[in-house]
């Protein structure tokens, strides 16, 4: 048993947690953000707490649907519904990103709700990241990071110094190193943690101050040293996909006879353990890490790299199969699924594609599909 894991799981289940409340009480500003390309280090270096927006706890999208249509992503509709319900009232600002067509429109819709309904906060910023990794894009991204730093300094009257950024990079790297350590343990034949639990860890870590995250991860690392899950007869799987925060969904998959030992999910472990270089110009180091390492299907010129990275994960973690997770109407992951399917044929790994609405039910049907898939994988192995 791990006490820390229990604490973390509870953190993952709710929006507002004691760490965030405490940080706010201490006068730290909380800045919500939407996507893995938003550099947490810069927000932190400006003295604030970056907080990843999640749909957790959302029961419906009634209000969100007054803005979005039924063919928009359910994650976005849930999050915006919560915003309209004032469930993010504790935020001092929100940073949006041009991640996908659904998410980037939240910048527009939130501003409209701010103007027409007084929905706070006032600071609503669009952070723009390129969709390619060329040198031209790198220079543009570097510029965007500098502009972002300036905007934060001005709006929040913060002093974002080089030293502060270096310190922020260091502490975020500490968090990454600890996650790397946990991931190493997941390579063991008897990993210490289920995939569902690891997703809770990864989700929770983006919704508390990094200092608390480091403390909790250090504690968790110690507690997991002697924890082992009996892997006997269980398949080892890797998950890939967009936003995923339904812990119970992964539990369902694992209960069908598997352990998710690795993932490449937006809200999970995608490159979450890749550090920022701690030498040279810190802004350039941040730019490099975020532009070159956080690849997802929005990056148009990098599928080969993503595929190679997934292949390496499958090898390193000795996985038996891949399950992709996609939310309905997500074009980007729709396209990626198609390509991964081709890769699964080329490289000969079994793959199952699941599609769902966030918190949308339909578990029974999915369970049947997962069971049939695992059956097929086992038959193939024997």
């Amino acid at each position: 048993m791990s006490d820390t894991l229990d604490i973390i799981k509870k953190l993952a289940e709710k929006d507002v947690n004691e760490y965030i409340t405490q940080a706010a009480d201490e006068g730290r500003k909380i800045l919500g953000y939407m996507c893995s390309f938003v550099p947490e280090e810069i927000i932190h270096a400006a003295g604030m707490v970056p907080y990843r927006l999640r749909a957790v706890g959302s029961k419906e999208t009634r209000l969100g649907d007054t803005y979005y249509s039924a063919i928009n992503c359910s994650l976005v509709r849930h999050i915006f519904d919560k915003a309209l319900n004032s469930e993010f009232a504790f935020l001092n600002g929100v940073v949006f990103m041009n991640g996908c067509d659904h998410a980037r429109r939240m910048y527009d819709n939130w501003r409209n709700a701010f103007q027409t309904q007084g929905l706070g906060p006032e600071f609503l910023h669009m952070f723009v990241a390129p969709h390619t990794t060329s040198e031209t894009s790198f220079q543009r991204f570097l510029d965007e990071l500098r502009d972002f730093s300036d905007v934060l300094e001005k709006h929040f009257n913060a002093a974002l110094t080089t030293e502060a950024l270096q310190n922020s990079i260091a502490i975020y790297n500490q968090r990454r190193e600890l996650l790397r350590g946990l991931n190493e343990m997941r390579k063991l034949p008897e990993p210490p943690i289920f995939g569902a639990e690891m997703l809770a860890v990864q989700s929770a870590m983006t919704s508390i101050p990094v200092e608390n995250a480091v403390d909790l991860l250090e504690q968790l690392t110690i507690e997991l040293q002697n924890r082992r899950i009996d892997g006997e007869g269980k398949l080892r799987i890797v998950l890939a996909g967009g936003a995923m925060e339904e812990i119970e969904h992964i539990q369902m998959i694992e209960s069908c006879g598997a352990i998710a030992v690795a993932d490449n999910l937006c809200t999970g472990g995608r490159r979450a353990d890749v550090s920022v270089e701690e030498y040279g110009d810190p802004i350039a180091a941040v730019a490099k890490r975020y532009l070159y390492e956080v690849s997802c299907p929005r990056m148009i010129d990098e599928f080969d790299k993503r595929s190679a990275s997934l292949e390496k994960i499958m090898k390193d973690y000795r996985t038996d199969a891949l399950i992709t997770e996609k939310l309905m109407f997500c074009d980007l992951w729709g396209g990626e699924n198609f390509l991964l399917k081709q890769e699964s044929k080329r490289l000969g790994f079994p793959m199952l594609s699941l599609e769902r609405e966030m918190y949308g039910g339909g578990e029974g049907q999915m369970r049947t599909r997962v069971q049939a898939f695992f059956e097929m994988v086992r038959n193939r192995q024997s």
Partner: protein
């Protein structure tokens, strides 16, 4: 996956025949006017297995474009369309084949000695041929595992490749605009063809830094093409093309503005035609001549205070793509006297290109590309749509707004409340139709027509 190695172009050949026939008829615009009168009843019927073969003819000649002078203009444009299709199918050619995404402006590409193919326009070509091949291609792509939510244009592009209706590319050019669907589907096309691909990174904002970034992308594109085509860009040719583009844009921009007059001397059709013609005729002498002629014809009507359609009763402002699997515009014109006075696809709003040096050309091309249809509105914040929309409402005396919500355009659907609010504030009745430009499985022609009838009646417009 079927990795195509041969090309058969069955559908493109049929489209070429239809287009050549149209071009031939357009040489006799008066006779064509009579044919059109005889065929008029077909224009307002629902499409059936007989009249679908005349879909393209009905769409063009059945609508207000049937003014003999406009039909002549159509004949000019079809010269380039025919040449484009012939080029696509010219398997013996030793010129490199470049695939270029449908929202890219191809002046730079034209300044190289290449053949070009715009994958998404296969769907348009198949509509021209009077076939249902677009739906077949969509099904083909979906069967292969392509995501159903992708834009049907993107699915037809992949389907066409699977069905050997696409030429083999040497390089591909794409971009991150106008939507996720395009960004995603080009990764698929590149994966399937395994040729080098260049992706232009589209900026979000409209500020100097954004334009500069896109300009830098264009320089990268030139370097990429020079390397992979083993050719040098012909700057004189580019200068000529840009000069033609300037003239063409000037005419089309004025044409867009002319429909502010009541009654409107023009409509969406010539603008949509020039949008279709972009793949073949943008920056070409024929493209320019087409624009000049439709402009002159509209100007003449404006001078005489003559309307484009017979009896203008309803002035529509149109959002997003039209339906192209059925000739909806002739039906709207004939049945309700409804004319599109402004739309977001055909409407030209751009800046001239300074042709004095390579640097000025590339700098201004960056701007004109970012002001292109779809790109201008989709890539940035809501204001990119809404400010232009408010201006259109102020200036075009519209009676209603039609949000033709294409399934692929998720970014547009995410703004529907804001469009609704603008309409409410302006007291403009609005119709939101869930539709699909090419995929008639999503919504049938009858269903769309029923929605229009109900809408016009309930708002006292018909």
């Amino acid at each position: 996956m079927n990795n195509p190695s041969t090309e058969n172009f069955a559908i493109s050949r049929a489209a070429l025949r239809a287009s050549r026939f149209g071009a031939m008829l357009s040489r006799y615009p008066r006779a064509l006017g009579w044919v059109r009168r005889l065929m008029l009843p077909l224009a307002i019927q629902d499409e059936n297995s007989f009249n679908k073969h005349f879909r393209f003819f009905i769409l063009l000649a059945g609508c207000a474009m049937s003014d003999p002078k406009d039909l002549k203009a159509l004949g000019i444009l079809s010269r380039d369309l025919n040449a484009y299709m012939e080029n696509v199918m010219d398997e013996a050619s030793d010129k490199p084949m470049v695939w270029s995404e449908w929202n890219l402006s191809n002046e730079i590409l034209r300044a190289f000695d290449v053949r070009q193919y715009v994958p998404e326009t296969f769907a348009i070509v198949s509509q021209m041929a009077g076939s249902d091949a677009a739906v077949e291609m969509i099904e083909r792509a979906e069967e292969e595992g392509m995501a159903p939510e992708h834009c049907s244009a993107a699915k037809t592009a992949v389907g066409a490749l699977l069905a050997n209706e696409a030429p083999k590319p040497d390089v591909i050019i794409s971009s991150s605009h106008p939507c996720d669907s395009v960004a995603s589907s080009y990764q698929t096309l590149q994966y399937m063809t395994k040729v080098p691909m260049f992706v232009l990174d589209t900026p979000y904002w409209d500020d100097d830094k954004s334009f500069k970034h896109y300009e830098n992308n264009l320089w990268d594109l030139i370097a990429f093409l020079e390397k992979h085509l083993d050719q040098k860009l012909d700057w004189d040719k580019l200068r000529e093309i840009c000069a033609n583009v300037n003239q063409t844009n000037h005419y089309l921009q004025e044409l867009s503005e002319m429909s502010r007059a009541v009654p409107s001397p023009t409509s969406v059709e010539p603008l949509l035609l020039s949008w279709l013609g972009r793949m073949a005729a943008f920056g070409s002498p024929n493209g320019m001549e087409f624009a000049e002629l439709v402009h002159a014809n509209a100007r003449e009507r404006l001078r005489k205070k003559r309307s484009f359609i017979e009896k203008e009763k309803i002035r529509m402002i149109w959002y997003d793509v039209p339906l192209v699997f059925a000739p909806l515009f002739p039906w709207l014109e004939k049945k309700f006297g409804a004319v599109v006075v402004s739309d977001f696809m055909g409407r030209i709003q751009t800046v001239p290109i300074d042709t004095s040096s390579p640097e000025t050309m590339v700098r201004d091309l960056a701007k004109t590309h970012l002001y292109c249809t779809m790109v201008r509105h989709t890539r940035g914040p809501a204001e990119f749509y809404l400010e232009e929309f408010k201006k259109i409402i102020d200036e075009y005396s519209g009676d209603c707004f039609i949000f033709m919500g294409h399934q692929g355009c998720k970014g547009g659907w995410a703004l529907r409340k804001m469009f609704r609010d603008v309409c409410r504030e302006a007291g403009l009745p609005s119709l939101f139709v869930s539709s699909d430009i090419f995929d008639k499985r999503h919504v049938t022609e009858e269903e769309v027509k029923r929605q229009f009838e109900d809408f016009f009646r309930s708002n006292g417009l018909a």
